[in-house]
């Protein structure tokens, strides 16, 4: 190889090695820039596609906001409708009002914050299509979600969380009502190197258990475990936390909330101070205080609280469900 032929080759190699590491995090940067996308068309979304496997590399999904909850349009065995994006949900849940005809595998009781006792039927869905991400033969719980529909006036086919995005990086941007999904390789790297890396302010390796993301954070210096829950219209704190932690909560009123059951439980509404995650401090963050014993039991995991909408709106979150890295880029000046 002649010298003038070698030079472009060396430049190419240098450029290749200088490509940003998709998993890296550069603290202190602004909102993530994920606008560079390979652009093969897929219905409903901006998508790049794996030309070999014919599976999308990147999917952009518009979130429909209902109150402080988020809906995604998806189809189950050909029937399309709204599904609540609920990262506090371990599995796919179907609303029995519309999916009663599905064949039951078994039945069990279910409960929640509000102590519901509805029967839950397990079934199998042949095909779930979320904007081109297609899952086959996945198990689902079938339960009555009528009370959720009634509270927010929207037809809800079901709900799902991270269980349907297991091999992906999920970017949640609630301020722009936007969900981005990146397919990952076995090492947790985005398939497409053309996609810009997620630039964040903080990062934490989470505990991913039964499809729930658990994060460590602290209140008043005490380390606590929170689950990340897009199905929570507010942050939630366990009523069993000791005085030292509760000293940082100002309770302003009693409130009502609805769990997955129809019963409503008395809870308290307040403002949380000195909440820290990876050194980032938050004050006056809205929070609900209630008993989380049952949730903790159902998750089979210690749980001190839930990070819901009031936390999610602080910025953009990237959750790599392979490496378990959770990165957060905080919005300057709050909401855009």
């Amino acid at each position: 190889m002649k010298r003038n032929q070698l030079l472009p080759f060396l430049v190419f190699l240098t450029a290749l090695f200088c490509l940003p590491d998709v998993a890296s995090c550069k603290p202190g940067k602004d909102v993530p820039d994920y606008s560079i996308i390979q652009t093969l068309f897929f219905p409903g979304n901006r998508i790049s596609k794996d030309p070999v496997q014919n599976v999308p590399f990147v999917v952009s999904i518009p979130l429909k906001r209902v109150g402080q909850l988020f809906m995604i349009e998806a189809s189950i065995d050909g029937e399309s409708g709204n599904f609540m994006f609920d990262t506090g949900s371990q599995e796919l849940v179907l609303n029995s009002i519309y999916f009663r005809k599905y064949i039951a595998k078994d039945e069990q009781q279910s409960g929640g914050i509000t102590g519901m006792t509805d029967k839950v039927t397990r079934t199998v869905v042949r095909r779930l299509d979320i904007s081109g991400i297609v899952k086959y033969n996945i198990s689902a719980d079938v339960m009555d979600l009528g009370h959720l529909e009634n509270r927010r006036g929207v037809k809800i086919f079901g709900l799902f969380g991270f269980s349907v995005f297991r091999d992906m990086e999920v970017i949640i941007d609630v301020n722009r009502n936007q969900l981005m999904l990146y397919r990952l390789d076995k090492k947790g790297k985005r398939f497409s190197l053309k996609d810009a890396e997620f630039r964040c302010d903080i990062t934490q390796r989470c505990d991913l258990y039964k499809n729930i993301v658990f994060l460590k954070s602290s209140i008043g210096g005490k380390i606590l475990t929170f689950c990340l829950d897009t199905g929570a219209e507010s942050n939630v704190l366990s009523s069993w936390l000791p005085r030292k932690i509760m000293d940082h909560v100002i309770i302003t009123r009693r409130s009502n909330l609805t769990g997955m059951g129809k019963a409503r439980a008395d809870v308290f509404y307040g403002l949380l101070n000195d909440f820290r995650i990876e050194g980032k401090i938050f004050s006056n963050m809205p929070v609900i205080i209630t008993s989380l014993e049952n949730m903790s039991a159902s998750f089979d995991h210690p749980l001190d609280g839930m990070l819901g909408y009031d936390f999610l709106e602080k910025g953009v979150l990237s959750i790599n469900l392979v490496t378990r890295d959770v990165k957060i880029a905080f919005e300057k000046g709050g909401r855009p």
Binding site: P43, Q90, Q109, K155, A232, T258, K262, F268
Partner: protein, 479 residues
Amino acid sequence: MKRFKWIFILMFLVAYYHAGAQFDPSKICRVEDGNMSFTLQKSWTHSQKLEVAHLFDLDTTLVLNIYNGKDEITAGGSTWKIIKVNSDVYKIIKPLVASSSPTNTGNVIILDDRWMNAYGVNKRESETFGVNRFTLFNVFSYRNGKATFYIPKRQEAKQIFLAGTFNNWSTRQTPMTKTDSGWIVTVKLSPGKYTYKFIVDGKWMEDPYNKLHENDHSSWKNSVVFCYNYRFFLKGFQNSKNVRVAGSFNGWNTKQLPMVRTSGGWVLYMFLREGTHSYKFIVDGEWIPDPVNKANRQDGRGNVNSYVAIGDTFYFRLKGHLETNRVIVAGNFNEWNDGEMLMRRTKTGWEMPYVLAPGNYEYKFILDGTWITDPDNPYTVISGGVTNSYLTIKPNHTFILDGYTFAKKVVVTGNFSGWSPENYQMIIRDNHWVLPIHLSPGKYTYKFIVDNKWIEDPDNNQWESNEYNTKNSVLWIEP
């Protein structure tokens, strides 16, 4: 002794002031280690105590009656432990009740509606009129019940969808078509107000060429469009500088609705909600009624206004009763006014044309002061124990119960009627019970009451369980 008296009064005043200053709701309630506690003060005023009871959903007897030395008190079905901190400050404590059974799925946390109302959830609006404000003339058009939305350029986009109130904000139902100059889609819409957004390659986008928008949430705006159903036209007046229209629909605002000069006169297209509206033109500051509209009426203050009726005309008719001197129709559409709608005598009876918007109405005829239901209308409703005739304009659903032909009385009830057990009575037609109804888009739960027995709709497999562990049938009315 006199000096002591003054010192005593001074101490009392300081104590009173101090007590008032300590009323800080943020320091009253604590939750820790599974218990909730409230620190209450005897010296608070009565209204302060009631405010605390309201804020923290406490029984008022609890807040008012804990200062009598008892160790515990039962109120609102709960027993509270009372701790006297000092002569003024009392603490009440109760363990929080944990829920009973574990969950195997996620939990959705929904805030109470009082809190959510601040964000505009469940907000319903019904504008009486509307005029579009597009910055490009060709980005929206509405003809023959078809609305065309157009976005110029955006050639780099791979896919654009239109989502709005007309398609339940579906993100996938209404794709736009790419053309050489932009993106276009036509949808069938009735006249009215709609909010919408575009979804460009999976990302929400307001219409950049539409100046009309409204807040959905604190930081979220939707574009607003009106599909027109009326044209105001004033012939001539070519030398006038400006012409506006004002009417009951816009509160007679004189500056809001300027008309556009055309070769034949002045014109303004707009959306007007169904019903009867009065209006006038303002030509260079001078008010004039519509010269070509014969529907003019005195407004009672010496002014003559023009009238326009939008919607279908319904004829109230009563056969016979020709011996009666005066027949009036009154209903909930005119707040049961017993002197307004005088019916016209015909050869066979009485009639009264009236424009009504789609909906459900109750009415009665008044024959020389005697109220009667419409003898030719089999549909009746019972409101507050009184039976009225029932009329539905443009029904969009019919409740049907097959069989039960032996039943004497069948009522349909649901959240649309406040679960009234007698309000909407069905009638029997061809071996099934029916009731046509007009319902706004949304979810409805309902049941039939067959001779006082409550049953779900046997032909509807969509149902949800209710607090009585029975089933409510579910019905969705799409936009």
